[in-house]
């Protein structure tokens, strides 16, 4: 009789000692972990805002519009790095977007199925290469090649006072805004082509077949039927690439030349927000210097957040 009661008692305890209390604890643990992640993000924003506050208070709105960055006189204006960030990211997009479109259309439409998968994986491997490796490659391989084969000939041939001459002016060492954008373009290409390929695969095959059935060529199907079909998603892909490019740090730090102030030409050295922080933060000379760098960080966060939130909204609306 006692044995039976014990059996029943054990059985009514769901699964060996995991009572309601155990359930509660596990659930609370899971909930706390989720909340911790939210708190971490909130912490990032709050700490950037607090750390950057002295700089914002000191320089006001001029912090965003002045390009004077001088740790000696303690005057900090972020316009140089902000412009550098935006220019390199947009240039990178201009280079990467046609490539990403080409790669994904090729893989979805023209490539034999058997080799399409390996190629897609190979392109995605580009995303796995660490940023610092891109940086080294850019500094030691791309920059010297670029200086010798692109910059020098242009420097020789173009009239230095002409429009083109001014656009391509700069010290021919290969470390400039344009090469930084090239590296960024290679880095964001795999993300953009992967998402774009997924978008193209969501197009119902009837839509494509109908267009082919009307006698369209592949080009016409892609340009007039498929791309319009994923229009909004395409903008999402662009924003996604932009968001990636904005925050990229190490690769750019290696190759952009790291000079403050506005870049004067395509082949001029410059800096981005992330590269400025990476270069100066550990060696900041004063509290105001540190604060200005943290304030730069906040600007970068707001930029990437806005861009990525837009990308997300656009991609979500196109997938349904």
């Amino acid at each position: 009789m006692t044995a039976t009661t014990m059996d029943i008692e054990t059985a009514s305890q769901p699964a060996r000692g995991q009572g309601a209390a155990g359930e509660m604890i596990f659930r609370t643990l899971c909930f706390s972990a989720a909340t911790l992640l939210m708190a971490a993000l909130a912490g990032v924003v709050v700490s950037l805002a607090i750390g950057g506050w002295p700089a914002f208070r000191q320089f006001g709105i001029g912090f965003l519009f002045s390009s004077e960055w001088n740790p000696v006189t303690e005057v900090y204006g972020a316009a140089g790095p902000i412009v550098g960030t935006i220019v390199t990211s947009i240039l990178a997009l201009v280079i990467a977007l046609p490539l990403a479109l080409g790669v994904s259309v090729f893989l979805v439409e023209f490539c034999p199925r058997r080799i399409s998968r390996p190629i897609a994986i190979a392109v995605e491997l580009l995303a796995g290469i660490p940023s610092i490796v891109y940086g080294m490659w850019g500094l030691f391989v791309l920059a010297p090649w670029f200086a010798l084969h692109i910059q020098m000939p242009l420097l020789m041939d173009l009239d230095p006072n002409g429009l083109l001459g001014q656009l391509f002016a700069g010290i021919p060492n290969g470390a400039n805004i344009f090469t930084a954008s090239m590296i960024l373009a290679i880095m964001i290409l795999p993300y953009m082509s992967a998402v774009f390929r997924e978008l193209l695969l969501t197009i119902p095959s009837q839509v494509r077949e109908a267009a082919y059935g009307l006698g369209s060529t592949s080009f016409e199907v892609v340009a007039q039927v498929m791309l319009p079909y994923v229009r909004r998603g395409t903008v999402g892909v662009i924003m996604l690439g932009l968001g990636r490019a904005l925050g990229e740090t190490m690769a750019v730090t290696f190759i952009i030349g790291n000079s403050h102030g506005f870049p004067h030409s395509l082949f001029d050295s410059g800096s981005t927000i992330a590269s400025t922080i990476a270069n100066e933060f550990a060696e900041a000379t004063s509290d105001m210097h540190t604060s200005a760098l943290v304030a730069l960080g906040l600007v970068l966060f707001l930029l990437t957040f806005a861009v990525l939130a837009t990308a997300r909204a656009l991609l979500a609306s196109d997938k349904h």
């Binding site: 899971c30 989720a34 993000l41 290469i129 610092i132 925050g247 990476a278």
Partner: protein, 279 residues
């Protein structure tokens, strides 16, 4: 007929351009890997793993940097896996559909794509500045913050893939919900959870920016996590930008090591993920 010819030519050009774009992307990959191997393989010997960072001009290796990287990545991954799997489980099994759940998912995605250098700044503000010193722990926490969102997201995806019949079967036997999750769902999604961990690891093992002002770097061998600690990426950064040829050679070796490790882990992770997707 003229028009048909023109359409045909436009089409061929278009197909050609798409192919060319693919070749450029593949070419970039091959070119980068090739330069890594050419520049890095020559310096790869046993000294790399047994000797610490040399003074310019003398023989040395990367042992201190490799150990530091392993220490910080290991601690970072443990933190990230614990938080990530629990948070992912909450999203998939408990509160994922509530407004709070949507908020968590969105902010997790924001954290996932936030520039890593900003995470470094955050950890500097909370762990370096108050304690007046760079430390290995700070580096590990920064890495954990970068890996946790990836683990969370993959965990949620993989748990959502598990059929509801599994959950119902477990609960019909009288097991509690948490018990079913831990002993049935987690086991069924085992490979998927491992994928999340591997992808998180692949991301943080090459990260440089957040370590620059959390663990700082250390030219000596140190296993003390309360002190500044060397790591492979920060050492590569320092060596590559130095003026010494032998330091630059070491930087290439380090870059080769990191790239091979990251690509290998990434590939294994992806292969595992495909296994799970195809039940």
């Amino acid at each position: 007929m003229d028009r048909a010819l023109r359409r045909k030519i436009t089409n061929s050009i278009f197909v050609g351009l798409c192919g060319a774009a693919t070749l450029i992307a593949l070419g970039a990959l091959v070119f980068i890997l090739w330069s890594l191997v050419v520049n890095g393989i020559g310096g790869l010997d046993l000294n790399i793993f047994t000797m610490t960072q040399p003074a310019p001009g003398s023989v040395g290796g990367l042992a201190n940097a490799i150990t530091g990287s392993i220490f910080m990545c290991a601690i970072g991954m443990v933190l990230a896996i614990v938080v990530g799997i629990l948070a992912g489980t909450w999203l998939a099994e408990y509160g994922g559909q509530t407004p709070y759940g949507h908020a968590v998912r969105f902010l997790n995605d924001v954290l996932l794509s936030a520039p890593s250098i900003l995470v470094g700044l955050f950890v500097y503000e909370i762990l370096v500045r108050p304690f007046h010193g760079f430390s290995g722990y700070a580096g590990a926490v920064a890495l954990a913050l970068l890996a946790a969102p990836i683990v969370t997201r993959t965990t949620e995806d993989m748990l959502t893939l598990q059929p509801n019949t599994l959950r119902e079967a477990g609960m019909a036997l009288g097991a509690g919900r948490g018990f079913v999750i831990r002993s049935v769902i987690w086991k069924a999604a085992g490979a998927g959870l491992l994928t999340g961990a591997l992808l998180g690891f692949a991301r943080i093992s090459g990260e440089t920016a957040p370590l620059l002002f959390t663990s700082l770097g250390n030219q000596f061998f140190s296993a003390n996590l309360t002190q500044p600690m060397a790591s492979l990426p920060t050492t590569i950064f320092q060596f590559a930008l130095s003026a010494y040829d032998d330091w630059r050679r070491l930087a290439w070796v380090g870059a080769l090591l990191i790239a091979v490790a990251v690509l290998a882990v990434n590939t294994i992770g992806r292969m595992l993920a495909r296994e799970t997707h195809r039940p």
